[in-house]
Symmetry: C2
Subunit: 533 residues, 2 copies
Amino acid sequence: MGATDETSASMHDSLHAPARFNRTCQNLRTMAKDLGVTSREDNYAEWYNDVVKKADLADNSVVRGCMVIKPHGYAVWEHMQQALDRMFKETGHVNAYFPLLIPKSFLSKEAEHVDGFAKECAVVTHHRLMNDPNGKGVVVDPEARLEEELIIRPTSETIIWHSYKNWIQSYRDLPLLINQWANVMRWELRPRLFLRTAEFLWQEGHTAHATYDEAEQETLTILGIYKRFAEEWMCVPVVDGIKSEGEKFAGADHTYTIEAMTQDLRAIQAGTSHHLGQNFAKAFDVTFQSTEGKPEYVYATSWGVSTRLIGTMIMAHSDDKGLVCPPKLAPIQVVIVPIGRGDERAAVLEASDKMAADLRATNWAGAPIRVKIDDREKESPGFKFNHWEMRGVCLRIEIGPRDLAENKCLLANRVADEKQEVSLHQVVNQVVAGLDGFQSTLYNRALELRNANTKRVDTWDEFKAVFANEGGAGFVVAHWDGTQQTEDAISEATKATIRCIPLVALDPKDEEPGVCVYSGKPSNKRVIFARAY
Amino acid sequence: MGATDETSASMHDSLHAPARFNRTCQNLRTMAKDLGVTSREDNYAEWYNDVVKKADLADNSVVRGCMVIKPHGYAVWEHMQQALDRMFKETGHVNAYFPLLIPKSFLSKEAEHVDGFAKECAVVTHHRLMNDPNGKGVVVDPEARLEEELIIRPTSETIIWHSYKNWIQSYRDLPLLINQWANVMRWELRPRLFLRTAEFLWQEGHTAHATYDEAEQETLTILGIYKRFAEEWMCVPVVDGIKSEGEKFAGADHTYTIEAMTQDLRAIQAGTSHHLGQNFAKAFDVTFQSTEGKPEYVYATSWGVSTRLIGTMIMAHSDDKGLVCPPKLAPIQVVIVPIGRGDERAAVLEASDKMAADLRATNWAGAPIRVKIDDREKESPGFKFNHWEMRGVCLRIEIGPRDLAENKCLLANRVADEKQEVSLHQVVNQVVAGLDGFQSTLYNRALELRNANTKRVDTWDEFKAVFANEGGAGFVVAHWDGTQQTEDAISEATKATIRCIPLVALDPKDEEPGVCVYSGKPSNKRVIFARAY
């Protein structure tokens, strides 16, 4: 509303020339940017923001730190949800839903949890508005103050374990394998679309087990699902490993993570799976009767991935033409652009419809191919090519009257430089091959980037040199003495943190003992350092 | 936590005999109730609550008015979501996601909206907790007060139309057909599981159109989807009609509704579809350039159904044995109970597995049949029968060694009295027929109930007599003079409200003119009155 008021005011007020001049400059900038995105080289952060906005994925909202996920971005999330939900269910999990609001006192029941975690959050203090006695709009009704403040869930361990107390009595009630798809809120001080927003969408699994080992197995099963999803759906290679004490989830016994590399060579944590030990069971007094008839505290896990995955995907693959989307997650996999006007158009449109129908009748990766025909009459083919490249459509089919006469079309690939001539009866096969190839191209490209930017470093001077400049510097695989003190000192000096202790080393030699890159003390294996998002 | 503390205290404190006596009585009552549910005749409200809880659908939470949707209940919601989402997408809608929090000032932008609607809501005033300076837990940080309070969305018209202002410039941007699956919160004073909870899950569609007529068509398209979903998925016949001015959505031009009848003869509003006119476009200044190049305000619709549908489904079909679930929405459609112990058990389990595999390989209503084998060894067959009847499993297959020897099994139906002998090679066919029959039986039963309890009433005395007792009294089809004043007077006298003015009369004669049952003034058609949930 503010912007419009200003604009219409300026239209009627020629006295404010400097303001109008500034606005004109701004409009020109906006117009120029409509043609493309800031290049990654010029400004990576601005490039990222441009891609998110110009690919129509998300927008900032009027509420600080909260985003609007636009239909094109939400469709990516829906594909992510479907794939993950299927994998959770195949491994015996069921979905449920727990309350959005958590009594304030719950947060302090698990001591580490509240210390490390839950301070920056949205607090509900009242439950009613009333008309402003001064006649302007509405105000909070002071009579409607809650007895105890409620917190919008930043994560749901506390409210869920409060329920589990009633659900778990005997070993027969275990394991409890529950997942929730929900929104959560953390009052982020420096929000960035998808990567770090005050409100975000996620899934959070909360499981209960009779033994430590069973909980450990669960934690690793989920980590395996996350890794498989990242690599096979998102085309993002990840290192799966365990977090250091300093980086683990507040309230966990230990935390597993998958870590990806972005094109600006930072690490990005893409999913975590926590073994919570008996911490939450003790905090909420959840015991079960064991097979031997003894009361015992329950073991817990929790695990989650969020809309941050969309940010991860963009950071891994997109380019200076806009979004690049792995085909399995792309809202539109193939766009058909019919070319030609007048009398010739009808036949081209008919051929396009037939192609679209054939493609839609074909399953790729377990679902019908997602096709759009862009038959807008007022836009040029070039405009349409850019439009769909910006929005990350994987393959483009161009077909005009001459192509049709020759019974062929052109097939363009969002990440290849050349167009391919394809005979019409080969279109379906070529599209299927194109989507297969696209998926592996993206993965291989990302793996090459990671390999090229993963270094073994053995001295502190070299370590500091790698991180001498600001920004990402890839993965540094180095020895560490295992202490929090050293981790803190390294992070202080370089802003690099331990991303994880890999479960399977990237190189077998990383498993050999050595000495800590910082303290010179003994280390039995290498860990991965990086600057992170 | 409280309950446990009390119990353990009482165990150590023999002085409080009366308290212990009461507790014992309560425990006995609880045990008795575990065996079944309160009958509908004894106490319909308690019956409803029992079904929700004992069928493992939902539970009250520690946060007043908020519910925990348990896995069995959430699975019903997932099936509802899938069916509705498919219908929305088939009619050109896409999903998106808008922020949970709404600036307080937004609510007062549309005058009717705030007056009629948005007062009882959760208000966020702060964004940080801190350690209690007195050392006990956490307290709200007084420094972290928000400049403007934020409201947890009770519905999203305002925040969405604020976004649409940026998304809509020209007629080419229209129509905008967007739906959102989300949680919303309304501070209900008398919450009831599923029917009226402070937090609930729903979908809310928010569309933007160039013309009044196009918005009207959209409103009716959605109403048609809701009616079809209610009748073909939920097996609940509904009357689709328009709300009177007094009952329409605050901020709407007019509201369409689908109204169902419960077994205690009340009406229940199961879904609404609103034509918002240009009200929200004007409030948020959303205009578009028409084909003639003129700026015009956009026309809007909004529409929603919620987890209340689960309550509606229970109210329509369930019985004194527990949940009755329409097969298309049932988390488990068929349970197989293998009977027999010792040596004979292995063969029975093998036959059960084969049956389950055959059923799962069969599609019914577009999805693989959902089968569970209950092979628990410590529970009796009778226990299992009750267990799955309570939880609304549609069909039960019992198979023991003798059945197996005779190459047959027994097929029981949740809503029929007799068991059917079925030869093993006919099981798949009989299950498919059983599910088909179940679906139509439920619908027909509900339709008969509604027909038997829909009366035409022509005098005020008769009208008052129908509503003389408390509780539901069915649908009363009567003439009304069309004024708010009469509607209010009738509601005051009888607690019956106008549920809707049907789009298609239940009986053609209802379309004939007459005189108002209350005022005697002319009326051109009959409307439906009922007491409502």
